[in-house]
């Protein structure tokens, strides 16, 4: 067994296997990116008004060849709708991946632990009370308030996760309690809301891409552009954190700082997504788990892959929401829940000690 020739060969094989694995992961991430583009193209090509694929592309690149209403449908309805699916999927899934690592909990995601509910309560509060601040446009006011509520909820979750008394299950149960609490508070707001505000609030319960506008999209794009670089920069620290908290600290990682910055990113991502499309369930749970199964937990690959799987699943869900019931546009949240619930149950059931 200790023959130098065979150990030399085994060593070379192990190193080659590692390098191969790294190359494979780069390819998978790139492949996911390509799949996202396809899903995006499919998404803008489907909708209640029957437009052939060729017309859709014409509408995007040479609008002169189509009638004005057709151009409007493509540019102001389908395109923002499809872009919103990609951005919301990426935002929620990145938030979920970071939450699962930071809280050391495979069931963590903005939706399952009540962060999305908190965000929708914050957003509802802004709408019903008509909150406003000087120098801040209404486009930002609703997501800002959603962010404050979401951040408060993740701070609570984190405090609970750190007091070892709670355990992994305790955090999940506490998250469920948060979901109920904030849903009740939103219901209370609905009760006192004006007719107009009520219409807006009901839309959150559904989770729909229907309100995607270019200004909403730009806010979400800015939030992603700011958070993603910081997220990727902490990839090494997050990988080390998976090896255990004491070990990671002994490797020189300031865990408290890593946690708080990550929680800020999670809150910003979840809050902006929720403020514009309502609570969309399970994307933040399903996306990271698919990515982890394909790539493992080297966060250099896990984080970008989670964003892409989230974007892909969301984009396909958006397509499904348009074609499942002919002639009707289902709220996309219904579709993601139908995909997400079985995955959630599978994660709970597979092995007691793994949850």
């Amino acid at each position: 067994m200790n023959d130098p020739a065979t150990t030399g060969a085994a060593r070379a094989a192990a190193i080659a296997a590692y390098r191969q694995a790294v190359r494979r992961r780069v390819l998978i991430v790139a492949g996911m990116g390509v799949l996202c583009l396809f899903a995006f193209a499919l998404d803008i090509s489907t909708g209640p008004s029957a437009l052939p694929l060729a017309d859709v592309w014409a509408g995007l690149f040479s609008p002169d060849t189509l009638s004005a209403p057709q151009v409007t449908i493509i540019r102001d309805v389908r395109l923002p709708y499809a872009l919103m699916a990609i951005l919301v999927g990426a935002a929620l899934s990145l938030a979920g991946a970071e939450m699962q690592t930071i809280l050391n909990n495979p069931l963590a995601s903005p939706f399952t632990l009540g962060v999305s509910s908190a965000a929708s309560f914050g957003a509802a509060l802004a709408i019903v009370l008509g909150l406003s601040l000087p120098f801040i446009s209404a486009d930002w006011m609703v997501p800002l308030n959603a962010f404050v509520a979401a951040f408060a909820s993740v701070l609570l979750l984190e405090a609970l996760a750190r007091s070892r008394a709670a355990g992994v299950e305790g955090v999940v149960l506490f998250g469920i309690a948060l979901v109920f609490t904030f849903n009740a508070l939103v219901a209370l707001l609905q009760f006192v809301a004006s007719q107009e505000a009520l219409a807006q609030l009901v839309f959150w319960g559904m989770g729909s891409l229907g309100r995607a506008t270019w200004s909403n999209l730009s806010v979400l794009a800015v939030v992603l552009a700011v958070t993603v670089p910081f997220s990727l920069r902490s990839a090494h620290a997050m990988t080390a954190l998976r090896l255990g908290e004491d070990r990671a600290r002994s490797f020189g990682i300031d865990i408290a700082r890593l946690r708080i910055l990550s929680l800020l990113r999670i809150s910003a991502l979840a809050a902006t997504a929720v403020a514009f499309v309502g609570t969309i369930g399970f994307i933040g749970l399903v996306g990271p788990h698919i990515a982890r199964l394909m790539l493992g937990e080297d966060h250099r690959f896990l984080l970008p892959a989670s964003m892409l799987t989230g974007a892909l699943v969301m984009s396909l869900a958006s397509v499904a929401s348009k074609i499942m019931v002919p002639g009707a546009l289902l709220p996309v949240g219904i579709v993601t829940s139908m995909i997400g619930v079985p995955v959630f149950l599978f994660l709970i059931m597979r092995k007691p000690e793994r949850v």
């Binding site: 192990a14 590692y18 390098r19 002994s250």
Partner: protein, 265 residues
Amino acid sequence: MERYGESLSIAGLSTGYRDRRIVQGLTLPAVAPGTVLSLIGPNAAGKTTLLRALAGLLAAEGSVRLGDRDLVGMALESRARLVTYMPQSLPQRVALTVLEAVIGAERASAVDRDEADRLAIVERAMDVIERVGIGHLAMTGLDHLSGGQRQLASLAQALVRTPRVLLLDEPISALDLHYQLKVMKLVHALSRERGMIVIMVLHDLAIAARWSDRVVVLSNGAVAADGPPAEAISAEVLAQVYKVAARVAPGPSGLQIDIEDTLPL
């Protein structure tokens, strides 16, 4: 690689948890470079607490000096270039291979390296994995390893950072006899090669006696005995600290320790 030449000295060190002090004003004469020091003592003597304080994981007062550097006031990241701690707990539910985990340990924060070493990170990680004896498991997931194999992977993660001070919390508790001996030999050899100071918590007195240059017996957070194994492990100390009746005599390799009975507490 350069040989480290700094001694570690601890003076007036107090540490513990929020509501209770575990170690109070502990002082240890300088630990010379290249020393393997074992911390032994009964349960709740403060062994792990002392190790975690030395690693910077617990707030401490007093002084811990490595050469002319004071570790107590040092930022975690700077201290991590000098000191690495291997906790007793092993990673659970992690989708990383052994090699990824060892590379991850090195990349977690900056380690002093020259350019060539930085580039050859995969090869260096593989060297360490082979030295702890699990080269054949390099591309196996941590989740698929036995407890003992994971403990060896954990040791490799600590060693890859080439610390000046290596703190090991029960590094052989999950290992069979072959690997217990292998790890002790490796730790001993590395301390000699690099001038690395090794401080480890051990439960097995015979192994501590055989493989340490120095043994510190802790009891209730204080030093009950300190010296070469033959001096620190005596029948009197064992009776006083562990409440056992024992016979200790020089043996063919190290000490011959016979624990004969328990004493009333």
